[in-house]
């Protein structure tokens, strides 16, 4: 790599970071200025929203609302991942099973996850079980379907190579199938993460005694409008933070994949 390309890529990194930080800052500033003189009850100035923020969230709501939400999301998302990947590997490896399961899968995939909320309330009450099940129900499908595609797409020559060297059973899964399907699985998990966050909030809005979604609805119903806006900002920041975390983790796990793509594009 020459000095010039180092310079260019360093410059790219700097401008990317500037954009990543700068754009939100600019939008916040715009919001701040545009809302500053607002007298509307429902659109309070950002100044007022941020003033109310520490008193609302740092006095117990973090542990009372945010942590329970995150735990439900974490448990639901992890369970959906384990179920989706396991079943995806099974279905992806067997054409006849896939053919048999397809109509059922298509049906359930087409059911919007929020409609499961009323049914799950009837079946499991309004506790954590219901919320975790809703998250699982929504996050499961993209992971399952992407895993199936990823497993089906294992390269034929690579599969033959593994067979010749008698790599089979659990070793085949570990060294061939899972890594090969990895990029697709990650795509599914990425979609599932945003779906999981949405369902976390929705399930809490419908019926709950704590959680972020619950808190936001509470504020809205008690006309604590700046606090409600603060909750929405917090939710947005949380989603952004989780997405960034996801990027970092997948970048590490799929370093080989990004390397291959880069090599194929002819870049060094």
């Amino acid at each position: 790599m020459s000095g010039r390309t180092v310079g260019v890529s360093a410059w790219r990194a700097v401008s990317r970071t500037a954009y990543l930080v700068g754009l939100p800052l600019a939008l916040v500033a715009l919001w701040w200025l545009a809302s500053d003189r607002s007298t509307s009850y429902y659109w309070p100035p950002l100044r007022v929203v941020l003033d109310s923020f520490p008193g609302t969230w740092f006095t117990g709501r973090l542990t009372h609302d945010v942590v329970p939400s995150l735990i439900r999301l974490g448990v639901g998302y992890a369970t959906a991942s384990v179920l989706g990947i396991s079943l995806g590997v099974v279905l992806g490896s067997s054409r006849s099973l896939r053919a048999a399961a397809e109509p059922v899968l298509e049906f359930f995939r087409a059911v919007p996850p929020p409609v499961m909320v009323p049914i799950l309330i009837l079946l499991t009450g309004i506790g954590n079980t219901m919320k975790v099940l809703v998250i699982i129900f929504g996050a499961f499908w993209p992971i399952l379907l992407n895993t199936v595609e990823g497993v089906r797409g294992v390269d034929e020559v690579l599969a033959d190579t593994a067979r010749c060297y008698r790599v089979r059973g659990p070793a085949r899964l570990r060294y061939l199938v899972l890594p090969s399907a990895g990029p697709q699985i990650v795509t599914g998990m990425h979609q599932a993460l945003s779906i999981g966050i949405i369902l976390m909030v929705i399930s809490e809005m419908v019926a709950a005694s704590n959680g972020l979604g619950f808190a936001i609805v509470q504020f809205q119903r008690s006309f604590a409008i700046p606090e409600m806006w603060g909750g929405i900002i917090l939710l947005g920041a949380l989603g952004f933070g989780l997405a960034m975390l996801f990027q970092v983790v997948q970048g590490r796990a799929l370093r080989w994949y990004h390397g291959v793509r880069k090599a194929q594009r002819g870049g060094g």
Binding site: C164, R166, Y175, G259, A263
Partner: protein, 257 residues
């Protein structure tokens, strides 16, 4: 060592059947270097896959060391043409070479030893931790060869392994295979569509007809065992063998059987 008896392979497609291999019989002795030469579309890869146990023949059988091949047998390694698709891109070169040894159940110390030996034997002593996609095509194929060699196979199958590398690299890899064969004494079955390559490498050349395939000729290559890119290729006997095989291949293309 290896016996192919009345092998026949018919592919059953949607509404049509293709007879790829009609009737193939030949034997390969222990430690022999045999090249299989045929025009493109001669069912060479089909034959190789049947020998490797990756495909089941429609009729006939493949016997390896006295046992009938119904699945990939132990002691058999394959080097494919598509090196880019036969190395695991998520593993370093070292781990690629090591994986089959792990499956064999070798202890860690022995594995490390074999990996080290094999990689330096193919001239890649210093790229253990690189990923395959960080290497050139020729180097990737060397890693695949190292993996096959480290496996210590009784039979090494090679499916047009050098068809996708440039001419210079190809000559180097040909010499590499010859020297590995001389040193390690495994049986090699080398599929190619390149006449020069077949004559240069093999002790015997099996000429296949166009599909549906039969053996057209079983030719002993009576060149001195020590091959050299310059001397061997410019020798008179090399030219004669080459011309003879060229005629055979032309005849095969015209449909002679």
């Amino acid at each position: 060592m290896l016996d192919v008896r009345s092998l026949r392979k018919v592919y059953e497609g949607a509404g049509r059947t293709v007879e790829a291999v009609q009737d193939l019989s030949f034997g390969v002795g222990k430690g022999e270097f045999v090249c299989i030469l045929g025009p493109s579309g001669a069912g060479k890869t089909t034959l190789l896959k049947c020998i490797a146990g990756l495909l089941l023949p429609t009729a006939g059988e493949v016997m390896l060391q006295g046992r009938r091949v119904t699945e990939p047998p132990p002691g058999l390694a394959v080097v494919f043409q598509e090196y880019g698709r036969s190395l695991f891109p998520w593993m370093s070169c070292r781990r690629n070479v090591e994986l089959p040894l792990r499956q064999k159940g070798l202890p860690k110390a022995r594995r490390a030893e074999l990996v080290e030996e094999a990689l330096s034997a193919v001239g890649l002593g210093d790229v253990h931790d690189a990923y395959p996609w960080q290497l050139s095509g020729g180097m990737q194929q060397r890693v695949a060869i190292a993996r096959a060699v480290a496996y210590e196979p009784a039979v090494l199958l090679m499916d047009e392994p050098f068809a996708a590398v440039d001419a210079q690299t190809r000559a180097d890899l040909e010499d590499l295979i010859r020297s590995l064969w001389e040193r390690l004494g495994m049986t090699i079955l080398f599929v190619t569509h390149d006449i020069d390559e077949a004559v240069y490498l093999g002790q015997r050349v099996l000429v296949l007809s166009a599909a549906p395939t039969v053996v057209m000729e079983d030719l002993a290559v009576d060149l001195p065992p020590c091959r050299d890119q310059m001397a061997t290729r410019s020798s008179r006997r090399f030219a004669e063998l080459r011309a003879h095989l060229y005629e055979q291949i032309q005849a095969a293309k015209r449909g002679r059987r």
